[in-house]
């Protein structure tokens, strides 16, 4: 049944024929083409679809179309009237939009607040925006933007002078479309004739299955066009981000190893698929024994999930130097503990989405992604195509954080498009996104650290089992990264660390901001507090005394340069002393609320571990006098579009305003690698620097002038000025090259690393970044609740290419660290939605003070180091250390939920 409705959207009358229960979000997006309103959960849990109906902010996913007759609806598209509104401008200036997927819902909610209350307090802003989740920003810049608070703010790119782009904070070059709703994410584009694809997934942890009569199923369901199974896959039905470990089928072959694994595809007309009940799909299941934890999976009576992986050990990483047992035995004090962490879900607000279409004999896939070339190569292999016959065009990615490095729907829509000849579109539901894509590895870790009587670390042993789930994904990376980093940025002369990736029937654990290092750092940094206590030393001073300095050798034997950890820790000193005094004063009176202060550090190597990791950047000058940057480093909100351009601009010697961007598309941008491992500013940035320099040299050579010359672009002329001499080169008179440029350059940069030997010795990374964070909080010792008061973050990023974006990364990383520490625990089968799986809301992130430390790296572009993952590493251990300072308790399993905190308090009282 259909209703004829007439209502107003953004002041314009619209008429629509819709089903009465169609969600307003669907009416706006699918009927009216207003895709600025985003859908993140379809359950009112995320607020991304917030719109205003008759003056009230609502989740459009919860409003039936039948309610709309005569209504006034306002969406993000109605916020700007030709020009951006003051609020939208403020969002750009404050860097309040990163990936942009939550931005429309936030803006609509904030605009409604400001209409009622032109100068809201921070608490009023939080109350108004508490219903919209953001996973990127950490909310602080959103609060600043709504209040238009006078903090660090960005400038118009056009106002940044030539040669001054690096270190300036131009507002993000791709920002405007994020605040108008014009950004096109994975679900925002769909060819009119596209088939919809539904995915049949395993409801069992581990099961064999047989697929029944699919022809009868198709025949019985009008509008369903075809069913595809593993038997229909033309290529090698096996993928994985690390080719030697590739083990995951695009569609399972007779046996599903985890709950949520795809076993079949149903392709059909959109209306038919929307109404489809997957319950009557012909598949019979035969459950097999399953193991959800490494301890179960390692048992001899549990068969390996993959041939050749005895004990379900995927792989292990190992680093050893000196004689740790002897060093610990001779130590003045030692501290030992074990800690467990939970599955953590990326919870980007955009579930995976995209479509495939055949263009001639080329399969084009447009979807959200962090790694277009990896998507291309894996999809091509699965579908039996040469890589150049697959073109990946990334649509805007509404948050990634590591999970969108792995392919998800790409081979699925690709298969349907190839087999049917029609475009094929797929948008994951929140449940499918959570069930089927990767998580942060749950870790089960043990360690001992020793120190001498002067407070110098003598040695450390560490071992950890990392639950890598049913398939390899990034398990090998976690196993290898952890032993390299588990010492923290501290001199540890005798050391052994082993990280093991163990298969289970749990969700696949993959990449999540830090690749296991955040978990390992919880282990190490909480032990440092115990050591300080045993030594009777100040906790911050212990860290300063042991911090790496230039010339130190790491546990891998690598000699370090450009080390800024000590400077970061020292930058926290004034705040540390103040916070300790305030806590002491606050706690003096006793009571239910106890104040605590904690500190923790991070170090993190940028790029692949001991493996090649190149990026290639191309830049050209067009006959029209524009600088065109082929920038393939996918910007998933972190800002690579802006940062890579800033670096290239200064290397070339032209202003930002001269640049045009061509972003990640495997047919037009060379491979800038994946957006992961905090590598884009460093590696793609360095490639952009080299490309800019190379282009500049070509121009200078052409003009026969020296390095000192200045170049410029004016009205179709390239100008080259040296002293009094000025040369004007008419670009239109020159013969363009095959790519259409009159001058162009392409450069590749691959960081110098070496393979690690059997003891983990070598040069795993060319560049490291460092940081330290200070957390002040209160623990309610009768309820076990934790209230964060303030966080100070000092990060050594070498050179802040764009300080505003750096702050945004720090605040966003801290928010994820807060979640890791206090609330995020993905329980497969139980928390597959955004109301049972909790991520921080705007009310859970305290004020954050950022201190930028700039110790230039000899290798990084303009001295820059990576940052994206570093920023969340210290947060959780600093919080746990502050909880311990407040209460004396040590948490054995994170997150430190109220339940766990109170249990630990009671346990300690029992011991006392």
């Amino acid at each position: 049944m259909k209703l004829s409705l007439s209502f107003a959207v953004n002041g314009a009358l619209v008429e629509a024929e819709v089903s009465p229960l169609q969600r307003l979000s669907s009416v706006l997006r699918d009927e009216l083409g207003l895709t600025g309103t985003k859908v993140g959960c379809d359950a009112g849990d995320c607020g991304a679809c917030s719109v205003v109906v008759d003056g009230k902010v609502v989740c459009a996913c919860l409003v039936p179309a039948a309610n709309l007759e005569g209504a006034q609806v306002r969406t993000v598209e109605g916020l700007s009237n030709g020009a951006l509104s003051a609020l939208q401008e403020s969002f750009l200036r404050h860097g309040a939009a990163q990936c942009g997927i939550c931005t429309p819902g936030i803006l609509v909610s904030a605009a409604a607040l400001l209409e009622q209350n032109a100068s809201p307090t921070e608490d009023e802003v939080k109350d108004a925006l508490g219903g919209v989740l953001c996973r990127c920003t950490g909310y602080r810049k959103i609060i600043d933007a709504v209040m238009d608070a006078n903090r660090r703010a960005g400038v118009e790119p056009g106002l940044v002078k030539r040669g001054e782009a690096v270190g300036a904070s131009p507002i993000r070059l791709d920002g405007a479309r994020k605040v108008t709703g014009a950004e096109v994410f994975g679900a925002d584009e769909r060819p009119a004739d596209a088939l919809s694809v539904a995915v049949v997934r395993s409801p069992h942890w581990h099961a064999e299955f047989e697929i029944g009569d699919v022809d009868a199923f198709v025949a019985a369901h009008p509008g369903v066009v075809a069913v595809f199974t593993a038997a229909d896959i033309p290529g090698e039905n096996r993928f994985g981000v690390i080719p030697p470990f590739a083990d995951q089928p695009a569609l399972a072959e007779g046996r599903a190893r985890f709950r949520g694994e795809a076993v079949a595809l149903i392709a059909g007309e959109r209306a038919a698929i929307d109404l489809l009940d997957l319950g009557d799909f012909p598949v019979s299941w035969h459950p097999l024994p399953h193991a959800l934890s490494p301890s179960e999976a390692k048992r001899e009576d549990f068969a390996p999930l993959h041939e050749g992986r005895a004990g379900n050990l995927l792989t292990k990483g190992f680093v050893e130097c000196g004689d740790p047992e002897a060093a610990l035995a001779a130590s003045h004090v030692t501290a030992s503990a074990s800690i467990e962490t939970s599955y953590v879900e990326h919870a980007y607000i955009e579930p995976e989405a995209g479509y495939a279409v055949m263009e001639g004999d080329t399969l084009v896939i447009k979807a959200c992604t962090q790694a277009p070339y990896m998507d291309r190569d894996d999809t091509a292999r699965i579908l039996g195509l040469p890589p150049e016959k697959v073109r990946i065009v990334p649509l805007a990615t509404g948050g990634g954080f590591g999970s969108k490095l792995d392919i998800s729907l790409q081979p699925l829509v690709g298969l349907v498009a190839m087999r049917t000849g029609r475009p094929a579109a797929l948008v994951y539901s929140r449940g499918d996104s959570m069930r089927s894509t990767t998580k942060r590895h749950p870790a089960s870790m043990r360690a001992t650290i020793g120190a001498d009587e002067n407070g110098h670390i003598t040695g450390m042993v560490f071992e950890g089992d990392f639950n890598t789930g049913a398939y390899a994904s990034w398990g090998p990376t976690v196993a290898n990264r952890v032993p390299v980093h588990a010492s923290g940025p501290y001199r540890t002369p005798h050391y052994r660390a082993e990280g093991r990736a163990i298969h289970t029937n749990g969700p696949i654990s993959g990449a999540f901001r830090g690749f296991g290092v955040p978990q390992a750092t919880i282990m190490q940094e909480t032990l440092y507090d115990r050591l300080a206590e045993k030594l009777g030393r100040d906790r911050l001073q212990l860290r300063i005394d042991n911090a790496y300095v230039d010339g130190d050798r790491t546990t891998c034997g690598q000699r370090l340069a450009g080390v800024g950890i000590k400077q970061c820790l020292e930058a926290l000193q004034p705040g540390w002393e103040r916070a300790l005094l305030e806590a002491q004063a606050a706690n003096a009176a006793g009571g239910k609320i106890r104040r605590g202060v904690g500190v923790a550090s991070c170090w993190y190597g940028c790029g692949n571990t001991a493996l090649p990791n190149p990026s290639t950047i191309r830049v050209g000058i067009s006959p029209a006098g524009r600088v065109v940057l082929h920038q393939g480093a996918v910007d998933i909100g972190q800002g690579s579009n802006t940062v890579v351009t800033q670096i290239c601009a200064d290397a070339l010697g032209l202003p930002l305003s001269a640049f045009e961007l061509l972003c990640g598309d495997t047919s037009i941008t060379p491979d800038a690698g994946k957006t992961s491992a905090s590598r884009q500013t460093f590696i793609s940035g360095k490639a952009a620097q080299k490309a800019g320099q190379a282009l500049r040299e070509k121009i200078l050579r052409f003009a026969n002038v020296s390095e000192a010359a200045e170049i410029g672009l004016e009205d179709g002329f390239l100008t080259v000025r040296e002293g009094e001499a000025l040369r004007r080169i008419a670009l239109n008179d020159m013969k363009p090259d095959a790519l259409g440029y009159v001058f162009s350059a392409q450069e590749t940069y691959d960081p110098p690393t070496t393979a690690l030997d059997e003891k983990g010795q070598g040069v795993p990374y060319a560049v490291y970044g460092y940081g330290a964070q200070l957390v002040e909080l209160e623990v309610d010792i009768t309820l076990g609740t934790v209230k964060l008061l303030r966080i100070v973050a000092a990060h050594d990023i070498g050179r802040a290419i764009n300080p505003l974006l750096v702050e945004g990364q720090i605040e966003g990383g801290i928010a994820q660290g807060i979640g890791l520490a206090l609330m995020e625990e993905y329980v497969p089968g139980r928390t597959e939605n955004l109301h049972d799986y909790l991520i921080p809301t705007i009310g859970d992130v305290p004020p954050i003070e950022t201190i930028l430390v700039e110790v230039p790296d000899p290798e990084g572009p303009f001295g820059a180091k990576g940052l994206g993952e570093h920023v969340l590493i210290p947060t959780a251990p600093a919080i746990l250390n502050a909880i311990r300072h407040a209460t004396g308790i040590a948490i054995g399993k994170v997150p430190a939920t109220p339940s766990r905190v109170l249990a630990a308090i009671r346990e300690r009282e029992g011991e006392a």
């Binding site: 009465p20 359950a43 989740c59 409003v63 039936p64 609330m823 625990e825 109301h835 009310g843």
Partner: protein, 284 residues
């Protein structure tokens, strides 16, 4: 699937007489329950029933219409004893949810963690069930039978919630304990109503949610507190055994945690009702 949107209560009740329907009001539980799948049930959309809007008061009752949203409740001029219900309203999901979700729908959804149930239990609320055959008023404590189960018959519609004037005396407090600040399902919550007279507790009503399949009034504690001096209340709460509660372990907290936290938040809700300001339990 069938769909109807009656414009009069009479028409709605006539439809309900014929066969079972899923009732749609604010939609905040209806849509999430679909789990991304299509609507399969026959849906009776009550959003055109004007007579279910708003609230009224008679000599004997304050009546909350079945379509009153949480936001409308917050704006309604209600006696101070409703402050606990208003605090619960502010803690329901988010502004977006409060703007469309209805108080009555919260009762009908019958979640053990329904934010509205403890305060309404403490207000001695009754649920008005109307069918073609007539009307009955059922105490809320009897209306909810268990997790997601109520005593509403298939031909009945909840048309109102009413609170007796006798329960509108005194002041109240509400504490919701959750693991984050907004958009949070409670680990435990407590609502308390207190009437003080000449330095004694003359009336008291206490209810706890998320610590049993259905939120419970604590009749035993109420009996202990009746007639006590306000100063004695904390010690009496501390000594009470909470036999009414039967908490379970789940992802939000353990049973033993809930048992212990319930004691604390009951004490805080009572302190709020007594006029003391104590922090709530939601992590911030």
């Amino acid at each position: 699937m069938d769909y109807a949107r009656p414009t009069t209560l009479e028409e709605a009740l006539e439809l309900m007489r014929s066969r079972p329907w899923t009732v749609l009001a604010g939609g905040t539980d209806f849509y999430p329950a679909l789990g991304g799948g299509p609507v399969k049930a026959d849906v009776l959309d009550i959003n055109s029933l004007r007579e279910l809007k708003g609230f009224s008061r008679s000599d004997s009752h304050i009546v909350i219409g079945a379509r009153m949203s949480w936001s409308e409740l917050l704006e309604a001029p209600l006696p101070p004893v409703f402050d606990m219900l208003k605090q619960a309203a502010r803690d329901v999901g988010s502004v977006q949810i409060q703007n469309v979700g209805t108080v009555a729908g919260n009762l009908c959804n019958a979640s053990p963690a329904a934010d509205g149930v403890p305060p309404l239990l403490a207000l001695d609320a009754e649920v008005t069930l109307t069918s073609h055959a007539g009307k009955r008023h059922v105490p809320l404590s009897r209306f909810i039978l268990g997790n997601r189960k109520t005593m509403r018959e298939a031909d009945e519609l909840v048309t109102a919630i009413r609170v007796p004037m006798a329960a509108c005396e005194g002041r109240s407090g509400f504490v919701k304990l959750g693991a984050r600040r907004y958009l949070v399902i409670s680990i435990a919550m407590a609502a308390a109503r207190l009437v003080l007279d000449s330095g004694r507790v003359r009336g008291v009503a206490i209810a706890v949610g998320s610590c049993s399949a259905v939120a419970r009034r604590l009749a035993g504690l109420e009996a202990v507190l009746a007639g006590a001096s306000p100063d004695a209340v904390p010690a009496l709460v501390a000594a009470y055994g909470f036999p009414e509660l039967a908490p379970i372990d789940d992802v939000r907290g353990t049973a033993s945690y809930r048992r212990e936290a319930a004691r604390e938040i009951v004490a805080r809700a009572l302190a709020q009702a007594a006029g003391e300001v104590l922090g709530g339990g939601i992590a911030a």
